[in-house]
């Protein structure tokens, strides 16, 4: 092989340029990395993640895990991350529910219903989310003051400091109830399999949903009373300033959850509507010809086909919701960013804290995407 082929032969020349370009790119990246690290060090900006082990020395009002002011910054971050995940999961569930219902109702033949939904969608979609969060929070603050709490039988209290509910007290034998719940779930799965096999074979349908519900709820309830009520409830009592005992759902969580789920729900409803409209009308007509009622047609014929169109943009909405939850900082819901900002301010480790935000949100988004892609692949049209 002659060396001159490197620039006379088209393929070899192409290869040479590719390699050169790659080397050039690698060099550029290396220069950026080396320079940045060097400059950060020179400016005293990079001092690593050691601060995560230092004492946080501040309190957090909503803790899903054990935490107090003597815990470390790292643990505070975990508490914040869990709070973010909590509101994101609750928000995704509610937004999906709102979105699917609103999307279907928007296509309703009832003019009033479809118009009401249209107004909801257009309004929530077009008002900045931050304003909606503050709006819901102000609504929460106009609830009765703590002294004038609305109470339901002195067990559940509602005031502008949240909803206070009794907390369960587990006594001997309560584990059997959890076993009963598990047994109910397993039983339902078995029944569902059997019903499916029977329907495939004979065409006869079986009300799995109702039977399942009865088993999952009924069995634990029966065990509960048989064992002489081993799970007690500790009701909140009125204290000097606040109600004491029980669990509290803060108004910040409620406001954030409502705002995120109604806002994202509006977007999801449009996606659902588009998905349903993408299913050919012939499918509905064919189902009608076969004797399917409209509800069944929607559930068994239209939605499964619409889902293939719905899922990919739905994933983006889930990701948006998760990221939007960082607006919590405005109303004092202690999510990852709210707690992180406090840590940043105390420790001064700006770059490290921001990088943690990025890593956490990136991981949450990738996990959500991975799950939704898996689900999408599962429901994809199997062509035979």
């Amino acid at each position: 092989m002659r060396v001159s082929r490197l620039w006379t032969d088209a393929r070899a020349r192409g290869l040479v340029f590719q390699v050169l370009l790659l080397l050039g790119l690698a060099f550029v990246i290396a220069v950026i990395v080396v320079n940045t690290t060097e400059n950060l060090q020179r400016a005293g900006l990079a001092s690593g993640y050691g601060f995560l082990f230092d004492t946080a020395a501040f309190d957090i009002n909503q803790r899903l895990i054990e935490y107090d002011s003597t815990s470390s910054y790292g643990r505070a971050f975990v508490v914040g991350g869990l709070n973010t995940i909590l509101v994101a999961v609750l928000g995704i569930i509610a937004a999906t529910g709102i979105g699917f219902i609103a999307g279907v109702l928007r296509l309703s033949n009832n003019y009033l219903i479809s118009r009401i939904v249209a107004v909801y969608v257009e309004f929530t979609r077009n008002v900045p989310l931050l304003l909606q969060i503050i709006f819901w929070w102000i609504i929460m603050l106009t609830l009765p003051r703590v002294r004038d709490s609305i109470s339901i039988g002195e067990t559940v209290f509602l005031n502008n400091r949240g909803i206070r509910i009794p907390s369960p007290v587990f006594e001997n034998g309560s584990s059997i109830i959890f076993l009963a719940i598990a047994a109910g779930l397993i039983g339902t799965i078995i029944v569902a399999r059997w019903a499916r096999a029977r329907q495939d074979a004979t065409g006869q349908r079986f009300p799995v949903g109702w039977v399942g519900l009865t088993v999952v709820v009924g069995l634990p309830l029966a065990v509960y009373f048989l064992l002489g009520r081993p799970i007690g409830l500790e009701a909140p009592v009125r204290g000097t300033f606040n109600l004491k005992g029980g669990g509290n759902v803060t108004p910040e969580l409620t406001a954030l959850w409502l705002a995120l789920s109604t806002y994202t729900g509006a977007f999801i409803s449009e996606i659902v509507r588009a998905g349903i409209l993408s299913v050919s009308k012939g499918q509905t007509e064919a189902a009608g010809a076969l004797g399917f009622r409209p509800g069944l047609t929607m559930r068994l014929i239209t939605l499964p086909q619409a889902l293939r169109v719905i899922i990919p943009p739905l994933t983006s909405q889930y990701l948006n919701l998760t990221k939007n939850s960082s607006l919590a900082v405005a109303i004092g819901y202690q999510d990852l960013v709210s707690i992180g900002d406090t840590i940043l301010n105390q420790s001064g480790q700006a770059l490290e804290v921001i990088s943690i935000y990025m890593i956490v949100y990136l991981s949450l988004s990738l996990i959500t995407s991975a799950f939704m892609n898996w689900y999408n692949a599962r429901i994809a049209l199997v062509e035979r």
Binding site: F17, L20, L21, G24, L25, F27, V28, V31, I32, N35, T36, E38, N39, R42, A43, G44, L45, S47, A57, F58, D59, I60, N61, S69, T70, I134, I138, L141, T142, R145, V146, N160, R161, G239, T240, F241, N242, K244, N248, P251, E252, V329, A330, I331, G332, Q334, S338, D341, T342, L344, N345, Q346, S347, G348, A350, L351
Partner: protein, 343 residues
């Protein structure tokens, strides 16, 4: 085509190498003189401390210090580039050299001084964290707050002081941390929380704006020390000295009765007071020691007046904030403001 791409890559690489070069650690004083302006980091807006006047100029207690420093170094109190910083961006801005001095009600703490690589050059306002609550609670002291919900304005050391105070006094509370003063106040007024805590200077101002101000009381406990002051990057002692002595000059000017109105007159010739003469450059060579003009202190005082004048103009009793001198009075007036002598 490909050659063109390569050429582009080479140019881009070259630029990045240049951009990547760090700001040199040369003397800040030379940089400021070369630039012809002082880059001063201030608040994004805080009544009394840094805010715009009706002509759109930035003024305030913290801003006045920047003006005095610019006047001392450059001879012109308007040669300033203000950089507005939040609680989050202030430290990186100073570390990276984006600003020459940070004058943004920042609490002097050990970790900021040592770990973050700053030099605090003094204290221009002694503050402390306090509590405000409704009289109807029937509580006379912050130590009786066990079980209460407490609204906190975040972004300073407030949360930590509260946690420390609660731990010391065995108080169990629900923290409600809110980022901005406006929303924290709204939450307090709606009785989302029983009490509201922030720096005492802020509490006085907040209470004054309540419609039913007489229904609220500020508890006697001040749970923290909040010495607020300007700071510079560590490692340039000359610049830190200049910044420190400009602040000291303003305080000593009050002590010696040198004001914005009479400073030029007093600097015109030797007065009977040798310390005034030393400060205003008519005796000794103190400006030269600092690397400044002999009239540096005259210019600094002429900018916005001495400490008392600045205090009264922006945050004093006759302003909306209506703050008394308290701890911030001179040592001879019962406060703790005490600047080392010009000697």
């Amino acid at each position: 085509m490909r050659l063109k791409i390569l050429a582009h890559a080479a140019v881009v690489t070259g630029m990045l190498v240049m951009v990547g070069t760090a700001p040199s650690q040369s003397a800040t004083l030379d940089d400021v003189r070369a630039a012809g302006e002082l880059k001063c980091g201030i608040n994004t807006g805080l009544a009394g401390f840094a805010h715009t006047d009706d002509q759109g100029n930035w003024t305030g207690f913290d801003v006045a210090y920047c003006r005095a420093l610019a006047a001392a170094v450059l001879g012109d109190s308007s040669k300033i580039k203000f950089v507005h910083l939040t609680g989050k961006t202030r430290f990186p801005a100073l570390q990276s050299g984006e600003i020459d001095v940070l004058s943004r009600n920042t609490t002097w703490t050990l970790s900021r001084d040592v770990d973050l690589g700053f030099t605090f050059i003094g204290v221009n306002y002694y503050d402390g964290q306090g509590f405000i609550g409704r009289k109807s609670l029937g509580v006379m002291s912050a130590k009786e707050l066990s079980g209460a919900s407490i609204c906190i304005q975040t972004g300073t050391t407030t949360e930590l002081n509260l946690a420390d105070f609660a731990r010391t006094n065995n108080i169990d509370y629900e923290p409600v941390p809110i980022e901005t003063n406006a929303e924290a106040r709204a939450a307090y007024e709606a009785e989302r929380c029983d009490v509201y805590t922030t720096d005492a200077s802020g509490l006085a101002a907040t209470k004054a704006t309540f419609e039913d101000a007489d229904q609220h009381m500020v508890y006697p406990e001040i749970v923290s020390k909040e010495p607020l002051g300007p700071l510079v990057r560590q490692g340039d002692d000359q610049w830190a000295d200049i910044a420190r002595w400009v602040l000291n000059a303003l305080i000593i000017a009050e002590e010696l009765g040198v004001t914005q109105a009479n400073v030029e007159e007093m600097a015109a010739g030797k007065t009977d007071n040798p310390e005034v003469n030393r400060m205003l450059g008519t005796e000794g060579s103190y400006g030269e020691m600092l690397g400044l003009d002999a009239r540096w202190a005259v210019q600094a005082i002429a900018a916005e007046g001495n400490y008392a004048e600045i205090f009264d103009r922006y945050i004093g009793p006759d302003t909306k904030l209506g703050l008394g001198r308290g701890l911030n009075a001179l040592y001879k007036d019962g406060g703790i403001l005490y600047a080392p002598p010009f000697r």
